[in-house]
């Protein structure tokens, strides 16, 4: 079981794009579930219908969009790259733009799902625009109640109202408005699919080489941040272990323990390889101020990537 878990973890964490896609899809499913469980409740009053319906159609997408931006990993990478001081590493605005566009694309999916669902379902549209329908195209309008026309039309979305009993007027108007709503919904869907297809097909025609470079470097930034966090975690663990061990050992009142004596006194030499590995993982950072300095420098003065690698200079020149 552990092996399988390891495999799954490895797969997901190695590919940050697949994680982002997964989260995006989950958010869309949440959006669908939220819509189906939401109890749409048109007020059926002339002054409030439009406000309510348009609110329901547009406020949840804003919320879903902000949520999408929040849970996306690239947001953190993007913000950090944008606001960091220059340090030793030049900033590449193309990378920032790429990250921004990929993040926005993913975050727009859940809001679009919500909007499309409201349009295809039709309730919002009926609530908002039933008052704009011209009733003379429909028969059976209940004009014996003494209410104004607009009030009657405003009551169309509400099924249980008494004035519409025994009349097919309400259903007719609802069907008419829903038909409009679905038409708009399908055309928006078609438009976006078309846009996506065209974009996909035409993208390699423009600046493909630059695109490859920016995609690589944005991926690199993501991985670098992850690796840094992992290294910090490992370092913290080794630091803690050593600190605790030395705390225990210091409780002895003996100074001879560490003296170069006969082996009988030494704490066992068996630990030496393990200790060496631990020392290596600590990378010589063994004090609080060293750790603080390291973290401060990481932010303020990021090193040049691959500065030690041969051939970096050449590649850099080519990019200019």
């Amino acid at each position: 079981l552990m092996d399988r878990l390891k495999l799954v973890l490895q797969y997901f964490q190695s590919n940050s794009e697949s994680i982002s896609n997964g989260i995006c899809i989950i958010l869309s499913l949440i959006s669908v579930k939220l819509y189906t469980s939401f109890d749409f409740n048109c007020p059926c009053l002339p002054q409030y219908n439009k406000m309510y319906a348009l609110g329901v159609m547009f406020v949840p997408p804003i919320i879903l969009f902000l949520l999408g931006v929040l849970v996306n990993r690239h947001t953190g990478v993007l913000m950090e790259e944008w606001v960091r001081p220059l340090g030793k590493r030049t900033k590449n605005p193309a990378v920032v733009k790429f990250l921004l566009s990929s993040m926005l694309q993913r975050s727009f999916l859940a809001p679009m799902v919500w909007i499309l669902m409201t349009l295809l379902d039709g309730k919002c549209f009926i609530c908002a625009f039933s008052m704009n329908v011209d009733p003379k195209y429909f028969t059976g309008i209940p004009n014996s109640t003494g209410l104004e026309l607009i009030k009657i039309m405003a009551k169309v979305p509400c099924k249980e109202d008494v004035i519409f009993k025994n009349s097919s007027f309400r259903k007719a108007v609802s069907r008419y408005v829903r038909c409009y709503s679905q038409a708009i919904g399908w055309s928006i869907l078609l438009f976006f699919i078309f846009l996506g297809a065209v974009g996909r097909v035409l993208k390699p025609c423009f600046n493909h080489a630059t695109f490859l470079q920016t995609r690589y470097w944005s991926n690199y930034l993501d991985i670098e941040q992850k690796l840094f966090d992992e290294t910090c975690v490992l370092h913290a663990r080794d630091f803690a272990r050593k600190c605790v061990m030395q705390f225990f050992e210091s409780m002895q009142e003996d100074v001879t323990v560490r003296m170069p004596l006969s082996s009988a006194f030494r704490p066992s030499t068996i630990h030496n390889e393990y200790e060496e590995e631990e020392e290596e993982r600590l990378h010589g950072i063994t004090r609080q101020d060293q750790v603080d300095h390291l973290l401060q420098t990481w932010y303020e003065c990021k090193p040049e990537p691959g500065a030690m690698m041969p051939g970096w200079r050449i590649f850099h020149l080519h990019r200019m």
């Binding site: 929040l70 953190g76 975690v233 490992l234």
Partner: protein, 416 residues
């Protein structure tokens, strides 16, 4: 390296994903509790408002506190807050970070409850049905012939379908729809506000104080890890302690003190240290009840500084001020200490300590007990090879700990 990467991933993902998992479970529990809860508006003018509003407000408070209870980091935060300064200064930024992250996680379930309640509308309806403005419905405000009190009582019955008797005055469905609509508007507004707040905090924060944030994140994670490692080490220590104690007891009873002893006497090869040494090593030199108590006491009252010694440094002197207290307590016992180191050919001075010492044996065999007595303490005797040549101490010398420690401090500080 791959193994360590995997370990780091699991460690990190474990801690965060565990907390996120609890968060998600509580949010689902909150939604489920709402749906299974049978809302029961009293439909009486005096009680409607209190019932409605308390249904909106009290369960979130309860969920918030439950979030604190279920969060392991709360006790860590409290410990870090209350501990004496010791040798490690306290960082208020770390404590603030821990507090904020705990609160953020605990706020999710209450937010879910409040938004579900507002979307559903029942509690709003119950609380505000009496404040309904009849002119919204185009009804004539005074054309119904009811006194004010009767009107209120009728309006209060709006949430209850089966007992509403004012259908001729005001349609119940219309009023319900109206109030539910307002309630849902408030619900969406609430969600929008908290989402914008979360967005500002998380997405805009890197613009400010990013370096400080990295630091506090690292150190708060470190405090958590250190606590876990300490607990693990104590468990390992207890195991080793128990094993050796029991083994020595059996050997003491049977009168045969075999393999353990032999290895210590043998100075022919180092390899023989391997087997008993692993358990000895788990003890890390802490082999007495009062020493272990001191370890546990000082862990809270006087945490060690965040500075590791390089191997080869003197071991004592690490605990500067705190060991003064230890010295005082040990001065009282100083006469009790035996002062032999292991590996000696069994010379003993003084006598054995009472209490839970490894090596305490009822046989009182001078020769043998001494060799596995106590920790390698600072008191050596003349015959011992292990005497610190630097000060050639006599056993039982009260000043010796402070002397060795002072010298050790000098060595330590010169190396740092």
């Amino acid at each position: 390296m791959d193994k360590f990467r995997m370990m780091a991933q699991i460690l990190q993902s474990n801690q965060e994903s565990f907390m996120n998992g609890i968060c998600g479970v509580m949010a689902l529990a909150s939604a489920q509790l709402y749906t299974s809860f049978e809302f029961n508006c009293p439909c009486i003018p005096e009680y409607n408002y209190s019932y409605g509003i308390s249904m909106l407000v009290i369960p979130p408070i309860w969920f918030f506190l439950l979030g604190f209870v279920l969060n392991n980091n709360v006790s860590m935060l409290a410990e870090e807050w209350k501990r004496p300064v010791g040798q490690r200064r306290k960082d208020p930024a770390v404590m603030r970070y821990m507090c904020v992250s705990i609160s953020q996680r605990s706020l999710i379930a209450p937010a879910v409850w409040i938004s579900v309640t507002l979307m559903d509308g029942k509690s709003f309806l119950c609380a505000y049905s009496m404040d309904l403005d009849m002119s919204e419905f185009g009804k004539n405000v005074s054309g119904h012939g009811l006194s004010q009190e009767d009107l209120l009582r009728t309006l209060a019955k709006i949430p209850c379908k089966h007992i509403y008797d004012g259908q001729h005055i005001l349609s119940r469905e219309a009023a319900t729809r109206y109030i539910c609509c307002i309630s849902q508007a408030f619900g969406w507004l609430f969600l929008l506000i908290i989402t914008i707040a979360a967005f500002l905090i998380r997405a805009i924060r890197p613009c400010f104080t990013q370096a400080a944030f990295l630091k506090t994140k690292y150190w708060s994670h470190y405090v958590d890890t250190e606590r876990k490692v300490f607990d693990e080490t104590c468990t390992e220590h207890a195991k080793g302690f128990a094993k050796i104690c029991i083994k020595q007891y059996f050997e003491g009873i049977s009168g045969e003190i075999q393999s353990f002893h032999d290895n210590l006497h043998g100075d022919d090869s180092d390899d023989e240290d391997d087997k008993p040494a692993t358990e000895e090593d788990k003890l890390m030199g802490v082999r007495r009840l009062d020493t272990m108590n001191k370890v546990l006491w000082d862990w809270h009252t006087c945490k060690p500084p965040l500075t590791l010694r390089k191997p080869g440094d003197a071991s004592t002197g690490q605990n500067g001020d705190c060991s003064m207290n230890a010295n005082k307590s040990q001065d009282g016992n100083v006469s009790d200490k035996t002062d032999l180191n292991e590996g000696q050919n069994g010379f003993k001075h003084g006598y054995l300590n009472p209490g839970l010492d490894i090596g305490q044996s009822e046989l009182g065999k001078e020769y043998d007990n001494a060799s596995f007595s106590i920790e390698q303490n600072g008191f050596t005797n003349k015959h011992s090879n292990a005497s610190t040549s630097q000060n050639g101490l006599m056993n039982g010398c009260v000043s010796s700990p402070s002397n060795t420690q002072k010298k050790a401090w000098a060595v330590y500080y010169s190396k740092v």
